[in-house]
Amino acid sequence: EAEVAQSPRYKITEKSQAVAFWCDPISGHATLYWYRQILGQGPELLVQFQDESVVDDSQLPKDRFSAERLKGVDSTLKIQPAELGDSAMYLCASSLLDLEAFFGQGTRLTVV
């Protein structure tokens, strides 16, 4: 069964360092989402892509976060510089137009 792949699964980084996460959506899924989930809360959307175009990045802290999906397939989310408050689970999801979003296992980031 096709799944959304994310790497790394875990990442520990020091404050002020740069960190990047990678996501490979299910083949053929044009829509890709990055969500952030702080411990004890539900996921919150950071950015949504339709193919290679950003369609919603209203909640993305653009001073330190960036996301790209250059060929409309896999995607990278970067944080530079990382802050202590960025510690969270970063979830990638993809979907066709039927609305069901399929989630990856996530990357757990710890900033020390």
């Binding site: 829509t31 004890g40 539900g42 996921p43 959307l45 979907s95 989630f103």
Partner: protein, 110 residues
């Protein structure tokens, strides 16, 4: 702006008992509502959605527009139902972002 509220962070029931996980939403338009579930050490996955009007694993959810609620119900809980449950809302019918509630951890005791 849309908002989803799950008033119970923790819910514990005994096997065979009925269970209801509450979800309330605020949105001025016509939302699409979903329940997602995350079992221990597994990824977040769709349980059911309003537009399908399905019963999945014995769970049902009815959209009550008057009370702006989308409560999840099961008449007889099973131990394997123990998981984190998230209610979510989408503004449009295609490709729109999900707004999640904070989740309810359901524990079904033997």
């Amino acid at each position: 702006a849309q908002r989803v509220t799950q008033p119970e962070k923790l819910l514990s029931v005994f096997k065979g008992a009925p269970v209801e996980l509450k979800c309330n939403y605020s949105y001025s338009g016509s939302p699409e509502l979903f329940w997602y579930v995350q079992y221990s050490r597994q990824r977040l996955q769709l349980l059911l959605r309003h537009i399908s009007r399905e019963s999945i694993k014995g769970f049902t959810a009815d959209l009550n527009k008057g009370e702006t609620s989308f409560h999840l119900k099961k008449p007889f809980a099973q131990e394997e139902d123990s998981a984190m449950y998230y209610c979510a809302l989408s503004k449009e019918t295609s490709g729109s972002r999900l707004t999640f509630g904070e989740g309810t951890q359901l524990t079904v005791n033997p």
